[in-house]
């Protein structure tokens, strides 16, 4: 019973959870694994069409955006790429970001019975929600490959940087996500604020359009939104002859991500001690 040793001596005192935070997280890796597995399993089981949903949603969004922005508004694409590819390259990070935020912020309130009855580092729950959304991300990525095959489109060599941007968007979602999650437990108003942020974000981020239509003088303000740097980054990786990447926005994204990840973890840790009293 060696594996149980780590559970066998517990000291409980004020501030203890805070002190042993990361060791505790390691101790509870098993539960982390099981809860993530549960979330993934349930996500693709619950709805009648299961995995198909993860395919239909981005595909439909892409079609509508291509028609509205590309055909009707006649906005320019990037570097002669077909409009659907340009939209889909942006949908990839955006959809991950928005589902993460939504799933994450509801995750704690959806697991009330666990939180009020057993101990484990609470951060496991929102993190597992984000990982679950990550599966959708990979499904979308596979769709992108299919679309590119359809258009006989060869991506830029810069695609080797895609893993970097993937990690970046993961941490942006994580940082902002857990921060909002903790806030959502305390102030249930965030239940209404988060969908609003997500909806509004879609319009201020270059998902349906390309950043090159933004006037130069507004570029800096526009780039404060961390998703601008990330979405443009994804396009820079995937689309050929794309010389318009505004690198300042990338730096802003990196800084904002780091900042939010730190703030998010800090705030979450401070708040989580009292979740059981609150929820």
């Amino acid at each position: 019973m060696n594996a149980n040793k780590e559970f066998s001596n517990i000291i409980i005192e004020p501030g203890r959870i805070e002190k042993n935070y990361w060791t505790d997280l390691w101790r509870y890796r098993e539960l982390f694994y099981v809860l993530t597995w549960r979330d993934i399993k349930v996500r693709y089981k619950q709805t009648a069409i299961g995995v198909a949903w993860a395919v239909i949603r981005p595909l439909l969004t892409m079609m509508i955006f291509s028609v509205v922005f590309g055909k009707l508004a006649k906005l320019p694409s990037v570097g002669n790429a077909p409009y659907p590819i340009m939209v889909f390259a942006a949908l990839l990070p955006w959809q991950f970001f928005s589902t993460s935020l939504t799933e994450c912020s509801n995750s704690l309130t959806g697991n009330t019975n666990l939180i009020s009855k057993i101990y484990f580092p609470r951060i496991i729950i929102p993190t597992s929600a984000i990982i679950t959304s990550f599966i959708d991300f990979f499904i979308s990525f596979a769709i992108l490959v299919v679309i590119m095959l359809y258009y006989h489109y060869v991506p830029s060599w810069q695609i080797v940087f895609l893993p970097f941007f993937t990690i970046l968007v993961f941490f942006t979602s994580f940082g902002i996500g857990i921060w909002l999650t903790a806030l959502n437990v305390k102030y249930r108003d965030f239940r209404y604020i988060i969908p609003f942020i997500v909806q509004l974000g879609l319009y201020v981020s270059p998902v349906g359009f390309n950043s090159n239509i933004i006037p130069q003088k507004w570029m800096l303000i526009y780039s404060i939104n961390p998703m601008v740097g990330i979405i443009d980054g994804f396009r820079w990786c995937i689309i050929r002859d794309n010389t318009e990447y505004y690198f300042i926005s990338l730096w802003i994204s990196i800084i904002v991500t780091l900042l939010f990840t730190l703030i998010g973890i800090r705030y979450f840790r401070r708040a989580e001690k009292a979740f059981a009293d609150y929820i």
Partner: protein, 420 residues
């Protein structure tokens, strides 16, 4: 090292409560509108890293204070106390769901809690998947569950349905599966909170059996319950908690007796002065009393006959009055309604006594409504729940059932056996 497995030193847990707080959660708009009030105290509290609280009057409330005790290996400790005394908070702190404010606890050995039936079960997942999920939630390792998987399935008797989502299970199947997982936990310290109150009779019995088994194998049990029968049967010692502190710690029977005589689960008597007697121009009630006919007249148990004595003043000459009494249990279900024969009364003070036999009421808290009725038809005055009383359980013979006795009443009829 001694064989102390749980050592609690000067444990305390305080909450800051806002008196205006009605919601279960805080809404930003409430917080904003309340910030101006009490902002100083709140800021101070916040700076100390506390939570934001809505409410007008902030008060520090100690749910637990100066708790000290030790539990030795193999002890079975019952924790008793009235609702809100702090039992559940103590268990929450012990199982680390919430942090203490002061003090220190040292626990040696693996702790597991026997939770409500199937905590964490997901309806969409199959029986098999839920075994793994529930096992992990209860603190088992994956290899442990794998090792015991066949045993668990065997024990539950659900081989045929193990790949069916549990949402299609009947509630009985659900409980069986949940219990099968819990029964295969092998903790050194088992914490049980009032499971006997939830779940069905079969589950209760199984839980008690499991607890007995666990303690026989030399492991430690902490058991919180209102069920004195179960505590008495299963625990070697008990802790009585009152208002967040330990009042007594000792042999189970002594503690239970102390707890039972404490009672404020009842108000056995009400007297009124002439100027504020309840009533109207026909009738005024002077007093109402419940008298125990037990040898120890402070106790009413299921075998105790009781008298209800009502003194009232009749204000109208030659009224034909009868009293009607409705006895209700905690849930508000009426147990019976009985009325006295009608009697034409003079003006002045009168007394009515009704005798309720022993071996009739079940263990519960009861209250009465009394009606003064004129000419057996018109209600002159109705008094709602002026007194209430608790009927205690008694040690049971010839039974292994420790849950609440079934039924609204609990008569003891004559049984006869014949060999024919």
């Amino acid at each position: 090292m001694s064989d102390t497995v749980i050592k609690v030193d000067n444990l305390g847990k305080s909450y800051i409560i806002g008196h205006e707080k009605r919601e279960r959660y805080t809404a930003l708009r409430d917080v904003i509108s309340n910030t101006l009030k009490n902002s100083f105290l709140k800021t101070k509290h916040l700076l100390k890293g506390g939570q934001l609280i809505a409410g007008d009057n902030l008060e520090e409330f100690w749910a637990l204070k100066e708790i000290n005790f030790e539990v030795k290996k193999g002890d079975r400790v019952g924790i008793i106390g009235r609702n809100g005394a702090g039992k559940s908070t103590l268990l929450k702190v012990l199982s680390r769901i919430t942090e203490p404010t002061t003090g220190r606890i040292q626990i040696t050995g693996r702790v597991a809690s026997l939770l409500e039936v199937g905590t964490g079960f997901h309806p969409e997942l199959t029986g098999k998947e839920n075994i793994y999920l529930n096992g992990a939630i209860l603190g088992m390792k994956r290899w442990e569950i794998k090792e015991k998987y066949d045993e668990i399935v065997d024990f539950s008797g659900l081989e045929k349905f193990i790949d069916t989502p549990v949402k299609r299970y009947s509630s009985g199947m659900y409980v069986r599966l949940a219990f099968a997982v819990a029964a295969h936990l092998e903790p050194e310290i088992l914490i049980v909170d009032e499971v006997l109150a939830v779940g069905d009779a079969e589950f209760q019995n199984k839980c008690l059996g499991k607890m007995g088994e666990v303690s026989k194998s030399g492991r430690t049990v902490l058991f919180v319950s209102h069920n004195m029968q179960a505590i008495q049967a299963l625990c070697t010692e008990a802790i009585l908690i009152e208002n967040g502190s330990i009042k007594l710690h000792g042999k189970t029977l002594d503690i239970i007796n102390e707890y039972l005589t404490l009672g404020s689960d009842y108000k056995l008597e009400q007297n009124w002065e002439l100027n504020n007697m309840p009533g109207n121009e026909h009738i005024k009630v002077k007093s109402i009393k419940i008298i125990s006919k037990n040898i120890d007249s402070t106790i009413i148990d299921v075998s105790t006959p009781i008298d209800i004595i009502i003194d009232f003043i009749n204000l109208v000459f030659n009224q034909k009055i009868n009293l009607s009494l409705v006895l209700k249990n905690t849930k508000g279900d009426p147990i019976f309604n009985d009325s006295s024969p009608g009697k034409t009364l003079n003006k002045g003070l009168h007394r009515v006594i009704v005798h309720i036999p022993g071996n009739f009421l079940n263990d519960d808290v009861y209250t009465i409504d009394n009606y003064f009725v004129k000419d057996a038809s018109t209600v002159l005055y109705k008094q709602r729940e002026p007194v209430f009383f608790k009927v205690l359980d008694i040690p049971r013979e010839n039974t292994a059932w420790y849950g609440k006795w079934i039924g609204a009443v609990r008569p003891k009829f004559n049984w006869e056996y014949y060999e024919i």
